[in-house]
């Protein structure tokens, strides 16, 4: 059993505000194995981007890691001094953000930005750095790389820019990339290209990806495993095909049910009633319980009083009392019950 590349244990992210402390990410734990793509999916505000920011150490104040641990190759990185963490950023953990236009400094050539990253982390000559930069650009599918390397960001189109961003993220050969909505700002036609590119490169370099997105389609295409986040907690986590075809958490069931099938002929799309709670008003017990139709299937009022931890459910894990083998009588949840 290989050591996971990344281990997140009981991570809790808080925001002190004048109205009190808001808990944006509440005690989540997950692992990422080397070379694996973990999708992190959820609605806006579920805490996915914050988790990514915390892993790479760029959580913006007043947000802070209140408790928990983040380990990279068995070594704790959440409490490192600034300079130590800086060395890890880019070299061990890289990041890609949503908007390629604003991610690049408009005043420097693309080449300069790549070689700067290479030279910061790797001990190579300027000429060698430039060679590597050109190779990277070629790998990410930028034509005429030797010429384009001296172009400025505004001279590239949206899709090309994101390729440049990917080159930049891979420049110092990190082992893990946090990709925060990498395709959301792109045209649909370009999205597919970028996703394929990302997958290919990471396979070639053996890089793991933590792919944060709200787009289930992207997850289905790219990820090996997926974690579904809800209100700062993980609702379900497991292999992608299992979660999609046999969701075990009522929230995930609702999500999958809301995705229309091209072949189906339905009058209305299924939807989950209500909305994700605001951080100031998270229900006690299971955060999903006000919107969940399976509450009645759980004896007593556990759903409203006790917060469920991740319990094994089929081939995945779901944070739902329905799967507590000790107490529940009924069997699990299936996809056929599409209306939650």
């Amino acid at each position: 059993m290989t050591t996971p590349l990344l281990q997140v244990k009981n991570l809790r992210i808080e925001f002190p505000t004048r109205r009190g402390t808001l808990v944006a990410v509440d005690d989540i734990s997950f692992d990422i194995a080397p070379g694996e793509v973990l999708g992190v999916v959820g609605e806006s505000g579920a805490g996915k981007s914050l988790t990514g920011a915390a892993v790479i150490g760029l959580l913006e104040p007043p947000g802070r890691i209140a408790s928990g641990e983040i380990l990279l190759n068995g070594r704790r990185i959440d409490n490192l001094p600034f300079e130590e963490m800086r060395k890890i950023r880019g070299r061990e953990i890289g990041a890609i953000f949503q908007d390629p236009l604003t991610s690049l400094n408009p005043l420097y050539t693309v080449g300069r930005q790549i070689t700067e990253t290479i030279e910061t982390h790797l001990n190579v000559s300027k000429a060698e750095a430039r060679e590597r930069a050109i190779k990277l650009l070629m790998e990410t599918g930028i034509p005429a790389a030797e010429k384009r390397i001296d172009h400025y960001p505004h001279q590239f189109s949206g899709g090309m820019r994101q390729r440049v961003v990917i080159s930049l993220a891979l420049a110092a050969q990190p082992k893990l990339i946090i990709a925060d909505e990498p395709t959301t700002a792109l045209d649909v036609s370009i999205q597919a290209q970028i996703i394929t590119l990302l997958k290919k490169l990471c396979r070639d370099h053996g890089t793991s990806i933590m792919l944060v997105t709200h787009d289930m389609g992207v997850i289905a295409e790219t990820a090996d495993r997926v974690a579904v986040m809800y209100a700062g907690r993980i609702a379900e986590i497991g292999p992608v095909s299992e979660v999609i075809h046999h969701p075990q958490h009522p929230y995930t069931v609702g999500l999958m049910g809301a995705i229309p099938n091209v072949g189906d002929d339905v009058e209305r799309l299924t939807q989950i009633d209500g909305a994700m709670p605001r951080l100031t008003a998270i229900p006690s017990g299971c955060a999903f319980n006000p919107r969940c139709t399976r509450v009645s299937d759980v004896p007593g009022d556990r759903c409203t009083t006790e917060r469920p931890s991740l319990l094994p459910a089929g081939k995945t894990q779901a944070a739902c009392w329905l799967h507590d083998k000790n107490r529940t009588s009924a069997a699990g949840v299936s996809k056929e019950t599409s209306h939650v």
């Binding site: 800086r86 060395k87 890890i88 400094n105 408009p106 990253t117 189109s157 090309m160 820019r161």
Partner: protein, 327 residues
């Protein structure tokens, strides 16, 4: 690139014409232009000649053309107050104002920019808070008051520095400089601080706010995510991106120094163009007012042009608008 220059030049010429027009209206319609151009002892024949040369019987646009022609040659007539040709007066006073302005501008830039950067990077240090408080006071102080307080402390109470005049100056060709004498340099200190302080405060706050904006951008976040050192992020990326818009604004503000010199020169009785202009306004000395206006207009247009060029040279986005293109 060429198209850009030409477009800017054309704009500048339009502005100059507008300014010239205002000066022209001042000159011709406010007061009697003939007596403005002639010394008091002129004869009727002289007047007729001037009248013809000014083309006062001729249509309006011809008059304007003649005025413009005269203006371009530097002929603005005779000062009502001092009885001497205006152009001569301006040339005499130009070095004083320019020297003062240059020192003030240098002060403003050399102190304003670094302090602005410091207060942006070290937001919470007490030095930053102190600098910001002083800068707020600086923006609330009119420059004439700064001058008065400085005079009070350093000239009246301490007696260290002179409170008026340029000190001894050295004549180099048509230029008179105060840089080469000790008393000249001493005389420069208080006025240039007065003139430069307001600008320095503005530049400081501008650089700070711009840098804070830049530090919040995605590309800075991405730069940090790539593990670049603080120096690289702050001075390699953030600073450069801050200075680009700052150049334009600062450049224009510094152009304003020449106009603000009016106040400083009044407080310190500095024999420059500004003092000349104020005395002209008080006296309704039209030729001087018109001439100063044209000169200042020209200087501003020139500065604007230079600043535009600089911006063009520094920001690649403006340059490559037509060349290359991704897909």
């Amino acid at each position: 690139m060429l198209a850009f220059i030409i477009q800017r030049l054309l704009q500048s010429i339009v502005v100059m014409i507008a300014v010239g027009f205002i000066a022209f209206s001042l000159f011709n319609f406010v007061g009697d232009p003939v007596s403005l151009m002639l010394p008091p002892e002129a004869t009727a024949a002289d007047r007729d000649e001037v009248r013809k040369s000014l083309g006062l019987d001729e249509p309006f646009y011809v008059q304007f053309a003649k005025f413009a022609g005269n203006a371009v040659q530097g002929n603005f007539g005779i000062s009502l107050r001092l009885g001497r040709p205006v152009s001569q007066l301006l040339i005499e006073r130009l070095p004083a104002t320019l020297e003062l302005s240059m020192i003030a501008a240098s002060l403003a830039l050399l102190i304003g920019i670094p302090m602005g950067v410091y207060t942006a990077l070290k937001r919470d240090s007490w030095i930053s808070k102190l600098i910001l408080t002083i800068s707020l006071v600086g923006v609330s102080l009119p420059s004439f008051l700064i001058g008065i307080f400085l005079i009070l402390i350093f000239a009246v109470w301490l007696g260290w520095l002179p409170s008026f005049g340029r000190g001894d100056t050295v004549k180099l060709g048509f230029w008179t400089t105060g840089f080469l004498t000790f008393s000249g340099l001493k005389a420069l200190i208080l006025p240039s601080i007065t003139l430069g302080l307001f600008q320095m405060t503005l530049i400081l706050r501008l650089v700070r706010s711009e840098m804070l904006e830049v530090l919040r951008t995605d590309y800075i976040k991405f730069a940090r995510a790539r593990g670049l050192t603080n120096n690289a992020v702050h001075f390699g990326h953030a600073l450069k991106n801050t200075l680009v818009p700052v150049i334009t604004i600062a450049g224009l503000q510094l152009g304003g120094i020449i106009a603000f010199a009016i106040i400083t020169e009044t407080v310190f009785q500095w024999p420059g163009m500004g003092l000349l202009f104020i005395q002209a306004v008080q006296f309704a000395d039209i030729p001087v007012m018109a001439a100063y206006l044209c000169l200042i207009g020209f200087i501003f247009v020139l500065i604007n042009l230079i600043v535009d060029m600089l911006y063009y040279a520094v920001d690649p986005r403006l340059r490559a608008e037509r060349s290359g293109g991704g897909h």
